[in-house]
């Protein structure tokens, strides 16, 4: 197993639910309550030193018990290593800790995840929609149960009649 994974698994034995090393991408899944602790460890531990946040993403698995997966990708500029941190969130309690105070760039990235997937971030400074309009009521577009063509909101737009020439 990859030394980074060994280290994380050794430190948080109970919190780590899955590790994988595929195509050179190292990824670790942790339980939701341990997320902040692991993230803090990844950033501050001298062997980890993940100072750079690459992106925050989310995946919808409608058939799973814990429906959503939030994905953080970190990079260490000094150590030149990458890690992917994942956690699962059930639909009924769609909240996960925000990492904005650890990596400031997480602010906009987490807002996007909230906007697109409807996952709320606890202690986020400004959790609003970012790409969709503020008054958008059709739900969260990147969920798998959202139809590709939308739910009909666009059909209600007023169109101006063509001006006769």
């Amino acid at each position: 197993m990859h030394p980074l994974l060994l280290r994380v698994q050794h430190t948080f034995s109970a919190g780590v639910t899955n590790v994988s090393d595929w195509r050179g991408d190292v990824s670790v899944t942790v339980t939701r309550d341990k997320l902040r602790e692991v993230a803090q460890f990844l950033r501050d531990d001298p062997g980890m030193d993940f100072d750079y946040i690459v992106h925050v993403s989310s995946v919808d698995w409608p058939d799973d018990e814990e429906r959503f997966e939030v994905v953080w990708e970190f990079y260490s500029i000094r150590k030149r290593q990458r890690i992917r941190l994942k956690t699962r969130v059930p639909e009924a309690d769609c909240v996960v800790d925000s990492l904005t105070d650890l990596w400031r760039g997480a602010d906009f990235m987490e807002r996007e995840v909230y906007d697109m997937m409807g996952i709320r971030f606890r202690n986020h400074p400004d959790l609003r929609r970012i790409l969709m309009p503020d008054d958008y009521t059709e739900g969260y577009p990147l969920r798998k149960d959202f139809p590709l063509r939308g739910k009909g909101w666009r059909d209600t737009f007023d169109f101006l009649d063509e001006v006769p020439r």
Partner: protein
């Protein structure tokens, strides 16, 4: 530039006119100003709500999404090949690099080796695209700040390369020339000659751009010490590309995680010191020289060979065979109607585009379509630092900051 100091000097009473002390207290309040979405220097449709104290920015809140087209949702509905033209429309001034980043991500998912000649071709065209991107950026930034001449000079030279793209793939901006496993077609001898001519023609022109700007007091005054960000903050915000390197961090994926033909070329990564707009300008201009160097080396080293990986279940057959050969036609039809069977798994692949790290995070559950595709767009992430970088500067500096990010809203909103 310290915010507090500036404020105290602005409101100081003039000692030569003591009567001004007896003036009635003026009503002061913060002013909210909407900048955009149709402001010419916001590079597309972006709105920023500015909270002002006099002419100084106290807080700025970017409002984005005017150009949101749901590209990530569309990706889940089409095959891997069908998504390539969508990537053109992300950062529409530098389509080649988006194609490149996407194809690399899919190749990582498939564990597909690209032939050597294709790697060289990819590197050459990517660097040509980087030159175009930086020319476009330089002209737009100079125009925002008020230097119009540079705009015309840059566009004159950009036109040569766009015509070159036109001859290469039939399109100037939305190119779609990269393919999963290789490239669509090879460079012809005419194209190579034209490119060599351009490489001889171009470096003196870069000097020319610099002459216009580096001794221009207005340019220096509006870029030096404007929008300073420390290395620590820049890393914490996840900035990348010239915006991060301007603060003195030499993070460049071409060096950190070498890909394509970059490890075979010698080039340096310019790094700034002060983290201000001027340093970011300087880096981009230096990168123009480096790009010329990389293209020269690639043209010298490139050997003949195939331009598409030998993996018929994944790669598209050459167009001339599709119309003459039954098997090739069936293969083309199958690839576009069903797609290829990608292995289940999850990858992230970042590529150093001219704006910063452009990454694709693909989750596959097998089958011909991506289950989830997330685009790490540098423009979007740079906007996250806007408030931090604009605090304490003037309204007119807001335009400079949009410019210094090299922001393109198609990529920002996706």
């Amino acid at each position: 530039m310290a915010f507090e100091d500036q404020r105290t000097t602005v409101y100081k009473v003039n000692p030569e006119h003591p009567e001004s002390e007896t003036l009635p207290t003026l009503r002061t309040e913060e002013l909210l100003l909407n900048m955009g979405p149709q402001h010419p220097s916001t590079h597309g449709v972006l709105k920023v709500i500015l909270e002002l104290e006099g002419e100084r920015l106290v807080k700025s809140t970017p409002v984005m999404g005017y150009l949101h087209r749901g590209v990530e949702k569309l990706a889940e509905d089409g095959t891997y090949h069908q998504f390539i033209p969508h990537t053109d429309r992300l950062d529409y001034v530098c389509a080649m690099y988006n194609n490149f980043a996407y194809c690399r991500a899919v190749e990582k998912l498939l564990n597909l080796q690209v032939p050597e000649r294709a790697e060289y071709l990819r590197t050459i065209v990517a660097e040509v695209q980087r030159i175009i991107g930086h020319q476009f950026w330089l002209s737009a930034q100079a125009l925002d700040i008020g230097a119009m001449t540079v705009f015309f000079y840059c566009f004159r030279d950009r036109e040569i390369l766009l015509d070159w793209f036109d001859e290469l793939c039939g399109a100037r901006l939305t190119t779609s020339w990269y393919r999963i496993g290789g490239v669509e077609r090879d460079l012809t001898p005419t194209l190579i000659d034209k490119l060599k001519q351009f490489l001889d023609y171009f470096p003196p022109k870069i000097d020319e751009y610099q002459v216009f700007l580096e001794k221009n007091r207005i340019w220096l005054g509006r870029t030096k010490g404007v929008a300073v960000i420390s290395a620590e903050d820049a890393v914490s915000f996840g900035l990348s590309g010239p915006v991060l390197r301007g603060s003195g961090v030499d993070y460049d994926l071409r060096k950190y995680e070498p890909y394509s033909a970059y490890p075979k070329c010698e080039f340096s990564v310019p790094v700034g010191k002060n983290g201000d707009t001027y340093d970011r300008y300087w880096i981009r201009v230096m990168e123009l020289y480096e790009s010329v160097k990389i293209i020269r080396q690639c043209l010298e080293q490139m050997q003949d060979g195939p331009i598409m990986a030998d993996a018929p279940s994944v790669t598209l057959p050459p167009k001339e065979r599709v119309f003459t050969n039954l098997e090739a036609m069936i293969q083309q039809f199958k690839l576009f109607s069903q797609g290829f069977d990608a292995p289940p798994g999850e990858i992230y692949c970042g590529t150093e585009a001219h704006k910063g790290e452009l990454g694709f995070h693909i989750v596959s559950t097998g089958g011909g379509k991506p289950y989830r595709l997330k685009i790490r767009a540098p423009s979007f992430i740079h906007m996250g630092a806007f408030d931090h970088m604009a605090k304490g500067y003037m309204i007119s500096d807001a335009c400079t900051i949009f410019g210094t990010y090299d922001i393109v809203m198609g990529e920002c909103d996706r």
